[in-house]
């Protein structure tokens, strides 16, 4: 009898706890080393300056969860890092708040695609052409080389989804990065991208998790692959790999955005965090430690040449790239992914 009472007490105590302490803010990132770096580089300094304690959580970027929290009126996140297309959708649905005025006023200092009325870049990353320089001394220089299985025999690793893959197909077909979305917005352009993908389909090993993709490259199962640049920097710096990145082949950079969730429990502290992060010297705390950039152009002046060299959005690199068009993907993701999966299973 005593045991069952104990169980009840435990269960009730568990159900009741969940209240937020004063002077805190819940900031939600992508977990793993991303969170570790953000803690050292950004949120610890924020706490030191403002006295606001930060709970640094992680999530999987599922907008459904934000929508559900909002519908239920029990929002437990304050500031989240969300992928740009999801920010676009969520902003229109009123799931995120507009930026504080002080932050919004800085719009002109941001790189294309890194500023949105509801958010600013928490990190910029690129999907780049990667090869194992230990095995290929004279590596690929372009996406056309990636497609050229006679010049570079062997399988290719590719991300198994339409988003990011159709862009690379058009780059391989000779479309300059800045023109890719104009082409993709026409039905003929989409057909053209799929036709290009047809050429390489028999030589592709599809990947879904980045660790698989890197493992495939490491094991020599693929000779080159598309991959997030930060992951490659990490492997080269920490695991003694010698992977080459063909920046000059052209790339698209993507952005995750810090956004304040509508009806956040600590909205004021959340705004204070966004204002803090909007200052270049604070923003630089992240790219100093990691292979991902941020949105404010002035940040790059504060970095060393070595730090700049890792980033897709540093001044010397950005000429090869273009931003992912989040508005395009917000309205075409569903139909193009459907077509891509159909194509994949044929």
């Amino acid at each position: 009898m005593r045991l069952s009472r104990l169980l009840c007490t435990i269960a009730l105590a568990g159900a009741a706890s969940g209240a937020q302490a004063e002077g805190t803010v819940t900031i939600v990132g992508w977990g793993g080393s991303w969170n570790d770096v953000y803690k050292i580089g950004v949120t610890d300094p924020f706490t030191a300056q403002t006295g606001t304690a930060v709970t640094l959580d992680e999530w999987d970027g599922s907008l459904a969860k934000i929508r559900a929290m909002n519908e239920s009126g029990s929002v437990s996140y304050d500031v989240v890092s969300v992928e740009a297309p999801q920010l676009d959708i969520g902003c229109d649905e009123g799931l995120f708040e507009k930026l504080p005025e002080a932050v919004a006023a800085e719009a002109d200092n941001y790189l294309p695609g890194t500023f949105h009325p509801c958010g600013i870049a928490s990190d910029t990353w690129a999907t780049v052409l990667v090869y194992d320089a230990a095995k290929l001394a004279d590596g690929p220089k372009s996406w056309a080389d990636f497609w050229d299985v006679e010049k570079f025999p062997g399988k290719r690793g590719m991300l198994g989804q339409a988003m990011y893959t159709l862009e690379n197909a058009l780059l391989a077909d000779g479309v300059p990065p800045a023109e890719v979305y104009n082409v993709l917005r026409t039905p003929e352009g989409v057909d053209r991208a799929f036709a290009k993908l047809d050429e390489i389909k028999p030589n592709v090993v599809w990947w879904t998790s980045s660790s698989t993709a890197v493992q495939n490259l490491d094991a020599g199962e693929v000779v080159m692959t598309d991959m997030y640049n930060g992951r490659i920097t990490f492997e080269n710096e920490n695991n003694g790999k010698n992977y080459g990145i063909a920046w000059e082949a052209g790339f698209f950079y993507g952005t995750d955005m810090w956004a304040l969730v509508a009806n956040a429990p600590n909205a004021d502290a959340g705004r204070a965090f966004l204002e803090f992060f909007a200052l270049p010297e604070n923003q630089a705390g992240f790219p100093r430690l990691y292979g991902y950039g941020t949105g404010d152009k002035r940040v790059y002046d504060l970095l060393t040449p070595e730090q700049r060299d890792r980033l897709p959005t540093s001044p010397s690199r950005i000429g090869f790239g273009a931003p992912y068009d989040s508005a395009f993907w917000a309205e075409n993701q569903e139909s193009l992914e459907q077509r891509f999966k159909t194509w994949q299973s044929q």
Binding site: A15, D57, G73
Partner: protein, 261 residues
């Protein structure tokens, strides 16, 4: 006759292979959890407890373990207290529609888990129970209740109702008879049901990933997201703990059922 013997050996051979296929893969996680390296490769570079140390000291793993225990206990208490009287009512009652009710209660057993999870997600969000451990306790209790119901109903089949009548004729009130006569006799069945209910909740991952935010993350949820991002030996260590825990509980169930049967 020689063919007969040969056939017997062949059947035993196949059985041995199939059982090895069923059981041996589980053991691969043991060396993985005890590796001193950071990769899941065999042979392991050396042995160490470091990954168990990570799982048992890292605040996120500890919090997840705590959440799993609280949710498991909560949903078990709820499932048992709802399913035990229901089992009595269904076995002893003679009202029409019992089969229908039984089917209704058993729905969560056959429903694809994703449908249940996504549906609970939408519903619990609108009633304000998403992102709370109470919500997950309710959802897991719904999943575990039919399991408890089955074990309690089974133990009631062998219960002699004459005992209840005897208690009544000796002047015991129905409540007293229930507490003093029935409950002690079906207790092994109820306990077994409770333990299985606990395991159901303790192992469940899909509903847990929909109804929780980081604060209520459970152990299986941690393993699941870990496998998707990068497999580290910490995951194997957590998996070993999960298996050991379930196996210990299962041993208790088996012992109880043997005493009962």
């Amino acid at each position: 006759m020689r063919v007969e013997v040969w056939r017997g050996w062949l059947a035993w051979g196949i059985t041995a292979l199939v059982l090895a296929y069923l059981v041996l893969p589980l053991f691969v996680i043991v060396p993985m959890s005890l590796t001193s390296g950071t990769n899941l490769t065999l042979p392991v570079p050396g042995w160490s407890w470091r990954w168990f140390e990570v799982v048992l000291t890292d605040p996120r793993w500890v919090q997840a373990l705590g959440n799993s225990l609280v949710v498991g206990l909560g949903s078990t208490v709820l499932a048992v207290s709802l399913a035990t009287p229901a089992a009595v009512g269904l076995v002893w009652g003679r009202f029409p529609g019992r089969g229908l009710l039984l089917g209704l209660i058993a729905t969560p057993l056959v429903l694809p888990i994703v449908i249940l999870a996504v549906a609970s997600f939408g519903f619990y969000a609108t009633v304000g129970l998403m992102g709370s451990r109470s919500g997950l306790i309710l959802a897991h209790a719904g999943l575990a209740a039919p399991v408890v119901l089955t074990t309690v109903m089974a133990s009631l089949q062998s219960f002699d109702r004459g005992l209840m009548r005897a208690a009544a004729s000796l002047g015991a009130s129905p409540m007293t008879a229930f507490r003093r006569v029935l409950l002690p006799l079906i207790a092994p069945g109820v306990t077994a049901g409770a333990i299985i209910a606990f395991i159901v909740s303790f192992d469940e991952v899909v509903i847990a990933s929909y109804l929780t935010t980081a604060e209520q993350r459970t152990l299986p949820r941690m393993i699941f997201s870990g496998v998707r991002e990068s497999i580290s030996p910490a995951i194997a260590a957590a998996a070993v703990l999960l298996v050991l825990f379930s196996a210990a509980l299962l041993a208790i169930v088996t012992a109880l059922q043997r005493r009962n049967g």
